[in-house]
Each structure stands twice: as C-alpha cells, then as structure tokens.
Symmetry: C2
Subunit: 318 residues, 2 copies
C-alpha cells in the first residue's frame, strides 16, 4: 500500500494548494473548511490509481480527480443541510458553523469549482471526461432524491434500495476509475470494465457500511453502533427484515420502530435481524457484489494494487 | 424586432423540448416548473444574437444558450430559498410549492443540467466556452454572497454596490454575448468587446431596475412601486441617499428605515431621494453605463439589432 499512501499524500497536497479568490471571504472560507475536514480521499485516489494502471501520466489526472473530491464534499455539505445534521467528521457542519444560506451558496460555488477542476482534463479527452462527470453528478442527485423519498415510504424494496445506493454512492467510484482510464488512454472496453468494477465495489462498500452499523466494532467503525436502528434508517438491513418478517415478528419489528431510541431498541432489533438471518443475507450480498466487481478486472492489466485496495475497503472489519 | 421574436420563439421551443429523465419525478418536476415560469429569455437571446451577428451557425449556439438560461433559473431558485421569497413571476416559488429540501436538490440538479447543455458547444471551442461559463457562474455566486452580506452592513459604498450587481447580474449578459461570439468564430478582441458591452448594459439594466422600483409605472413595471423602500433594500438609490444625506436629512432617513412599512414610508423616502437629487444621480449613472456599453460596439459589425434590443432593455419606461 506504499503507492496508495504516496498518492493520498499527493492528493492532500494538491487539495491544500488550491488557490481560492481572496474575496468574498464568506463564500470561500466554508468551501475550504468543508474540504479540510479530511476523509479518505477514495474518489481521487481511484482516479489516480486507474490512470497509473493504464500507463497514463498521473500529473494529468490530478486536477480532474480533485474535482471529484470537491464534488463529493459539495454533496456532503448540501446533504447535511437537508438532513439537518449538526456534526460531520467530528466538527460542526457548515450550516451550523455559519448558517443555512451560507451552506447553500458555498455548496453551489463548490459545485462550480469542482467542474472547473474537471475541466482541466487534457484537451484530447475534455468532452468525454466532462460528459462522464456531468452524467454521474446528476445521478448522484437522483440518488439523494430517492434517499429522501424513501424516508416517508414504508414499501421500499431491496431492489429500490440497491438502485438508490448505486446512484448515491457507487456511480462516483465507477466514474473516478473510468476518468483515470480515459485520461490514460485505455480502450473503451477497459474504461467500461473498470467503471463496472467501481460501481460494484461501491455497492459492496455501502452495504457493508449498513452491516457494520449493526455488527461493527465501535472502536474501528467510527460511529455509534446501532445508530441506524435508533434513527429507523431504511438500510439494507431494515428493508430486508421488513420484507422477510411475518406474523408476530413483523408486529414486534413495527412496534420497535415506534419505540424509544435507546440501547434496548438496538438490542431487540438486532435480535430480530438474527432471527430472520438478515446478517447472513447482507454478508452474502456484500460478497456477491465484491465478486461481481472482481470479475470485471479479468482483462485489466496491473490491477493487483486496485484489488488490494478494494479488499481493504470492503473487507474492513467484516 | 422580428428577428428577436423569432429567436425567442426558437429558444422557448428548445426549452419545451428538453427531455428530462422520467424518474425520479420529484427531482425533475420542480426543474421543469422553474423553467416554465417564463421570463424574457434575455441571456439565451443575447447568445443567439451574438452568434448570428458574427456570422455563426445559430444551431450550434442553442444548447449552450439554454445552459445559460437554466443556470440563471437555478440561481433564482436558490436565491428564493435564501431570501425566503414566496412568489416568483406570479407563482409559488419551488420551496413553497414543494419544500426547501426539494428546492435545494432540484437546484443542484439544475446546475448540472445547465453545464450539460453548455457542454454541447462545438468541440473546437469546448474548453473556451466551458472556462468562460464556469468563471461566470462562480462570479454570480460571489455576487449573491456580497448581496447577502450587504443586508447586515450599513456602510456599503456605491462602488461596492456596483461591483455586487456586476457580479450578480452583469457578467452573465457579457458571458452570453461572448459565448455566441466564440461559437461564431469572432476574433478575441471582438469577443472581449461584446463581453464588455454586455457587462455595461447589465449594469445599466440593474441600476434602472432600482430606479424604476421608485419612479416606475406600476402598470408596466410588474412589481409594486416602492417595494425596495418598504424592505429597506440596499439599492443604488438608498446607498446614494445614505452617502449624500447629512444633518437632519440623514436623521430622518435613518428614522424612516425603522418606520412601519407603509405607503407613507414610501412617500417620505421618495421625497428625500428628490431633495438629495438621487433620482438624477441614478439616471446619469444609467446613461453613463449605457454609453460605455455602446462604445464597445464601434468595431463590431451588424450590431444595429443588438443596439436596438439593448435600448429596449435600458430605456424601458425611464
């Protein structure tokens, strides 16, 4: 993973050296604050790795890769406004540290800055990269829309949920990899394959996030275990349980959705998940998408590092 | 103005035939609603006129021109959220007709759709057009930021105000014209000149809007006369008055800012504007920017129609 660490350092250095206009300070300061929150920089990393794998010039992919990271952080910023979330990565969210209007407007500016960075892609692939980026960006909005709609629906199916996380999370990983491939001059087939790899790894990763929220280790997961249960969040776990449960179990589960948000609720819902085998279903689904992802790498050269990194993402503490 | 009408019809037809994805309906329906609100389509019209003036193929400019109109409508949508405005062009604003989260997210989607349309610019000028568009889009956010900051400041100068409206309103007119010029293959000097023309016409237009809010004819202005005075809006009129007033007049003006928002307030503030000659200052400034604009057209061929249209914008009911 030495190369990965080297790339992350490269990316973080590039993020730190982005030059924002001096004024208006009130517009650009929240943008910097949001980007400085850290995070794993997975998306730009994937773009850089893909570019390198296909023998491209890594210098050429850095700016478009930053564009993806800035876009991702823009979505987090606006999502936090919509979710009324107070804390992000241990710090107050932008709309808490400033105000909601600042969060909306600085987010808008961030979306433009992201596009500017993507526009620094080499002229020979400018349109192709931009088209991929815009298509993906719009899909992410669609995913967020479905996510919001699901909150007030109680008939969401597992298929609909998978489609939502595909749009909201997975396509950006596919886009990052494909962007690196395009800039490196990979063949269309290779670019599409690596996109599919990213998309499926993204699905596995998000499903695992749902799983770890119930079965993870509080020390390494970074969030309170059972947080999704407390919030009645319609995760793959809960949707599967609601779909599978019948009779008394279904009644108990529905009653628990109305119960006080305390540790007892977490324990009881987790017990139902166990009874219904939802934990096993989720693990199988994660494995299914991971394997589907890997199958797209058969014709891709030099993919060992990417496989290793993807494993580190989807097999963390499972 | 027959050509102008023909172009507006072309633009409106193109707007009506934009194909949005079927789903999620809840994301795209507000986008359509916002775009169908109408408006004068000034920005796409300017892009088309400029393209035609320089002998370009009008077909090539339509999509990028739509991008500008969609971006403009996106800014209106998010501005309405930030201003908590209930009505836009006689209809409930998106955040009123749906909700705030929908307005934020559909606005985000609209920004991406706008960029997609701009990306349909011909390959030979793709990067140039995109760079101009992104730069302008970011400037518009800067303008909105200044506008919001001015609300809580009482030391805004006329120069700062002009810079704010330049960013918030004028640069997009310049951008529209320059985009048309670039697509038509105009020289860099011509493209810059027509940008400057648009920028200065934009300043004249916005200053006139401020002026007409006090001195306009309610029937043709479309908004209540004195609305800005009622809301203590820091327009060019009020800033000039606050700058010029001294002694008792200054005291009266400050007292009026705290007074009840009624017709008497409008009458008294308007009276002070008259005493201070703020109406004359504003008219002179409008003329100054209109003339400055026209000076940039000296080396531009076939500009009669554009001049005529600009006059119709800045000399309406003055």
């Amino acid at each position: 993973m030495q190369t990965v660490d080297k790339y992350i350092e490269l990316i973080n250095r590039a993020i730190s050296s982005i030059e924002y206009p001096q004024n208006p300070f009130g517009l650009y300061e929240p943008v910097k604050y949001q980007l400085d929150m850290g995070g794993k920089r997975v998306r730009p990393l994937l773009a850089v790795m893909a570019c390198d794998m296909f023998g491209g010039n890594v210098e050429e992919v850095i700016s478009p890769a930053l564009g993806l990271e800035i876009f991702h952080n823009f979505t987090l910023l606006h999502d936090d406004v919509m979710d009324k979330a107070d804390i992000r990565r241990g710090r107050p969210t932008v709309h808490k540290a400033w105000c909601e209007n600042t969060a909306i407007l600085s987010g808008d500016a961030m979306q433009i800055i992201a596009t500017q960075k993507v526009c620094e892609a080499p002229a020979r692939v400018h349109k192709e990269v931009l088209d991929l980026y815009n298509k993906t960006a719009l899909e992410i909005c669609e995913g967020q829309q479905y996510d919001m709609e699901f909150e007030t629906r109680d008939d969401v199916t597992c298929e609909e949920y998978i489609e939502m996380i595909r749009l909201k999370t997975a396509v950006l990983l596919g886009c990052a990899l494909k962007m690196g491939a395009i800039i490196a001059g990979a063949t269309p087939k290779q670019a599409d394959d690596i996109y599919k790899f990213g998309e499926n790894i993204g699905l596995a990763f998000q499903l695992q996030d749902d799983y770890l929220d119930v079965y993870g280790d509080a020390k390494t997961f970074g969030k309170k275990i059972g947080g999704d249960i407390l919030n009645n969040k319609k995760t793959y776990m809960l949707i599967s349980a609601l779909t599978k449960a019948i009779g008394k179990t279904k009644e108990r589960l529905y009653a628990l959705l109305d119960a006080n948000a305390d540790d007892d609720k977490i324990a009881q819902v987790t017990a139902i998940y166990g009874e219904l085998g939802v934990d096993k279903i989720a693990r199988e689904k994660i494995t299914e998408y991971s394997q589907k992802a890997l199958a797209y790498l058969v014709d891709i050269p030099n993919s060992e590092e990417l496989k290793f990194f993807a494993n580190s993402l989807t097999e963390r503490k499972l």
